[in-house]
Structure formats: C-alpha cells, structure tokens
C-alpha cells in the first residue's frame, strides 16, 4: 500500500490539519552524529509524520536515521542535494520520533529538513481517525503503519 494513497485518504476526508515544520541543523561538527527527539507541540497532542525532505546539504555527506516505536529504524544515505524520506509514524509524547543525522565528512556541515505532518487536536481524535482509516483500508488494527515502505532520493 503506497503511503501516498493513505495520505490521499486523509486529505479527501479532511482528517487532521496538514502542516510542514522546519528543522534545521545549523552546525554539525565533522564526523559527528546528533539525534533530535521530536513530539507534537500545543495546540496539538498527536500527529502523523509522513515525509521528511532534506535540503541544503552536501551530496553523500549525511546519513539520516528515522526511528519510532511503530516505524522501527529506517536509515537513508542521502545521495543528492535533495532527498525525501517517506514513512508513516503516529507520533505522540509517549511515542516520539527520533531523527538522527550523521555528518560523514571530516569538516563541519549543515542540513535542513522539512517535516510534513498531519496534526490532531487530541489523542482521542487521532485514535478515532486511525480506527476509521484502518476500517476503510480493511486492515487489522495495528497494521496501518506502512513504515519505511519507500524512500527515494531525487535531484533538486
């Protein structure tokens, strides 16, 4: 099941509030790894993070790992000056998203990321919508998490 069809379902139903959030690693020392723990912020209590687009980076310089309880661990070697990392993570304070960036070069670097999210006001709302989406796709509970079904890198 492509992630895009799941996203289309959410768009067509008007579930959640779509937004993009900017996360910039302004400075990352040579051969250094940093991990940011990301959760929803007020007024939202839950969110789906479904795409991270990386930009402003040196080709081949960065390795990115995304991990979350349901997604597991998903590592991508960024290979151009623009790369997309697709997955489907239901993120709450209890289940944060961890984004790890490794600078593989021997000099300092920087990288930008845009997180595409679908935000929910309450955890109850997120649970209800997740249940509806699960039913519409005819999936058993707990499988509405394509996870690292796809990842791609493209030239910017």
């Amino acid at each position: 099941m492509p992630v895009t069809s799941l996203f289309s379902l959410f768009r067509s139903r008007g579930w959640g509030r779509q937004s993009e959030a900017q996360l910039d690693v302004l400075y990352l020392g040579a051969t250094t790894t940093t991990t940011a723990t990301v959760t929803p912020t007020a007024p939202y209590s839950g969110m789906v993070v479904h795409l991270i687009t990386f930009h402003r980076m040196l080709p081949g310089a960065f390795k990115v790992t995304v991990s979350q309880r349901e997604v597991g661990v998903h590592t991508v070697q960024l290979s151009s000056d623009l790369a997309d990392v697709s997955f489907w993570a239901w993120v709450t304070d209890a289940d944060p998203l961890l984004v790890t960036v490794e600078n593989r070069t021997s000099w300092p670097g920087y990288i930008g990321a845009t997180l595409a999210t679908i935000n929910f006001d309450t955890l109850e709302q997120m649970r209800s919508i997740r249940s509806q989406a699960t039913e519409e796709f005819g999936l058993s509970e707990g499988t509405l998490t394509p996870g690292p079904a796809e990842s791609s890198a493209r030239r910017g």
Binding site: L23, D24, G29, T32, T37, P40, T41, M47
Partner: protein, 51 residues
Amino acid sequence: MAVNAVIRVLTGGIKIIDARTSGGETKLIHSTTSGTPTAKTVDRSGRVTEE
C-alpha cells in the same frame, strides 16, 4: 565544552524535547515565525541549560 551541533526548530506543530550529540554539546534554538528565538544547551549527559 565545545558545541558540536546547533539545531533550530521553527514551530509548526512539532517541538524538540531533547537532542544528543556524540562527543559534545547541542545547542537548541526554538523560534516562532514572529517571536524571539530562545536557546537551550544540552550537554553530553543530557542536562538542559536555559540561556
């Protein structure tokens, strides 16, 4: 101790609750599109210091 990473997040539905960097400190800068940025430093033990 030297700062090995500086991370900025513009509020848009997400927040960074902590960040760890191998071998050094991480400086977090939270800023809104209209507000003043605020910085925090996370040392290698995970202790957060407001600036």
